[in-house]
Amino acid sequence: MLGSLLRIVALTRKELLAVLKDRRARMSLLLPPMIQTLIFGYAATYDLNHVPYAVLDQDDSGASRALIARFDGTGIFDRVADLHREADIGAFIDARRAILVLQVERNFERQLDYGAAANVQLIADGRNSNTAGTAMGYANAVIEAFNADWRATHDLPNPPVSIDERAWYNPNLETRWDMIPGMIGTLTLIQTLLLTAMSVAREREQGTFDQLLVTPFRPAEIMAGKALPAMLIGLTQATGVLLVAQLWFHIPFAGSFVTLYAGMTCFVLASVGIGLMVSAVSYTMQQAMLFSFLMIMPFAMLSGLTTPLRNMPLALQYFTLVNPLRYAVDIAQRVYLEGTSFAQLFPDIWPLALIAGVTLSGAAWMFRNRLQ
């Protein structure tokens, strides 16, 4: 037993030395996740903070101008043009110069003065239905505010039903807040999987793998000796992303770091397991790269980070059950934003443990039958 442990330690030490000795290698392991977090953290947002819009004001009255001024005053809506004919609306949107066009009808002020319904039209560019929906939501909010003010200043009764809205965990509903914790898992997965998958292929190509097999190392020990360093590096990368999230983006951390790391450890273990299975079947580094890449893509895109899992057809949702990233994204978001406890995370932890168990033993079995 002790002998086994000592051998694993020797392997781990060797692997860490081989991987981290080169300064460039160190940089390429630690920097990209952090840089990617920075760039994608800023890019990955469904929030709109700049909505170019155009106005077709057919009334040109004090009321209509007041409404438009509200839009301009939000700082989000950016009026790029004042249109003069209805026919222009189509062309304007076609040319992608505005996401939204606000059309105020001719009798806007008169209707308001009579206390009747005054109509405006919002026409949005549906090419991106998500952006359109969000922009319209914002526009509706502006109009509601206008309504409330008008009712107050003109002594009109409020609609009987008002809605009191609150959001749990992410009070300002900033999408960045759920993207970035999710990236802890995604970026870590990419690097860890690649690293582990290529580690054996690299030794095979260099010829040192044969040497390992000739020595008293048992296949399970060789695997552990590859898994441990990869896990350490993976967790370090996760920490890097976490630091960017906290120190740069200032996203408040609601849970316990211990829980987060415990969850991440399970995730990294599962990633490493998958990486080792890939490396067991790859004979060249090129193959290892290819297989890893082929796995990373569906894992990353179907993890629930960018698009919700609920929207997927049932068959694909079953597929995501074996996607460790799905659980990692969930764990990261819940611990980070909601402060979930480890016990509550159990439904995410046990599948990860299962994946880790299956892949690690599968890889061990394949290593043992190292021929072909």
């Binding site: 076609d94 040319a95 039209q121 239905s129 998500n130 359109a132 969000t134 690649l194």
Partner: protein, 354 residues
């Protein structure tokens, strides 16, 4: 050279699989949202509202009668939101100051906001119905009519699928070439080729053309899938689509060749290609995340990405038609990129080994 079955697999089979996988898997539609309806009074009004939710295709309500029960459902993410109708609702409606509480789960902020909007819409519709039935309730005064230009079905596939085609083309173009060329370097066949009268441009072309062909086949399959499987309309003309795609594919191939000429190590070539083409195409091309909302520094980076221009073109061709005002400028940029890549590639792929 195209006898290599793995290239064909990568060039043709893979795009199809990807498009199927992601086409079905990715969707930003917010429909059938599970919500907890906390009805603390079972009056006619409350039940009326509940019926409205149940009939709406946007919601799948679960009826509970206490806030505690609703919160439990929200914590476990069984529901994505809570709509609470308090116990004195009907009385307060008559008094004119009723309030409905809506709580959404902030983990998916995008979805949450849309859920809020839907709830407002549902309540608004109920209010209007009350007004129509004669109850003294007023809506407005400003009433909004919304219209969606181009995608009245509000189906997120409409913009996701063209974007997926971009991803798939990126893959085929850059990755495949980079792999193949780098592999040839390592296999040493280049060395023998060089010492022949063949010129370096001819070598480049000879390597490029088979993969180009594969890319076009992959593209055609994707377009077919888009039309028939995902019902994405193709309002523009097929020729324009093919032309734009050819342009993008050439740029992608150019990048791949460049990377592998410069970096003769397969491992690094593949890594670089993935980093430089796929992730940016995914995150920074505008297909998923709106470019206008990114900070200026990031937006500058996106101007360098060919994927950005291709996405703009594809979304227009599919959903809007042949709008030359949009297509021509984007195509021009891609052409310019192609020219630059071509010149650069030529100058470093002279027949030298070091």
């Amino acid at each position: 050279m195209v006898r290599d079955p793995s290239s064909i697999a990568m060039g043709v089979v893979l795009p199809v699989i990807l498009i199927l996988l992601f086409g079905f898997g990715l969707s930003l539609d917010v429909k059938h949202v599970p919500v907890a309806l906390d009805l603390e009074e079972t009056s006619a009004d409350a039940l009326d509202i509940a019926a409205g939710f149940q009939l709406s295709p946007y919601f799948e309500p679960t009826i509970v009668h206490s806030m505690a029960a609703a919160e439990r459902l929200l914590v476990t993410r069984t529901v994505d939101g809570i709509v609470r109708i308090p116990s004195d609702f009907t009385r307060r409606v008559s008094a004119g100051d009723a309030t409905i509480e809506v709580i959404v789960h902030g983990s998916d902020a995008n979805r949450a906001r849309i859920i809020e909007a839907y709830v407002e819409g549902a309540i608004g519709a109920w209010t209007s119905r009350q007004a129509a039935e004669g109850r003294a309730v007023i809506a407005g005064p400003v009433v909004v009519q919304s219209r969606l230009w181009f995608n009245s079905a509000n189906d997120s596939h409409y913009f996701l699928v063209p974007g997926l085609i971009v991803l798939v083309m990126t893959l085929t173009g850059a990755f495949l070439t980079a792999m193949v060329v780098a592999r040839e370097w390592e296999r040493g066949t280049f060395e023998a080729l060089f010492v022949t009268p063949v010129r370096s441009e001819e070598i480049l072309l000879g390597k490029t053309i088979p993969y180009f062909g594969l890319g076009m086949v992959g593209l055609t399959l994707c377009v077919l899938a888009a039309q028939f499987l995902f019902d994405v309309p193709l309002l523009g003309s097929l020729w324009v689509l093919l032309g734009a795609s050819m342009l993008y594919l050439l740029v992608g191939l150019g990048i791949g060749l460049l990377i592998s000429s410069a970096v003769k190590n397969q491992l690094v070539a593949s890594q670089l290609t993935m980093l430089a083409t796929f992730m940016p195409a995914f995150m920074l091309s505008g297909f998923l995340f709106d470019l206008r909302s990114m900070p200026a520094a990031i937006r500058l980076i996106t101007y360098l990405l060919p994927a950005r221009y291709y996405v703009a073109m594809l979304q227009t061709i599919f959903l809007a038609g042949n709008l030359w005002g949009v297509l021509v400028p984007n195509a021009a940029v891609l052409l310019a990129m192609l020219a630059i890549l071509g010149l650069w590639g030529r100058s470093i792929t002279h027949k030298r080994l070091a």
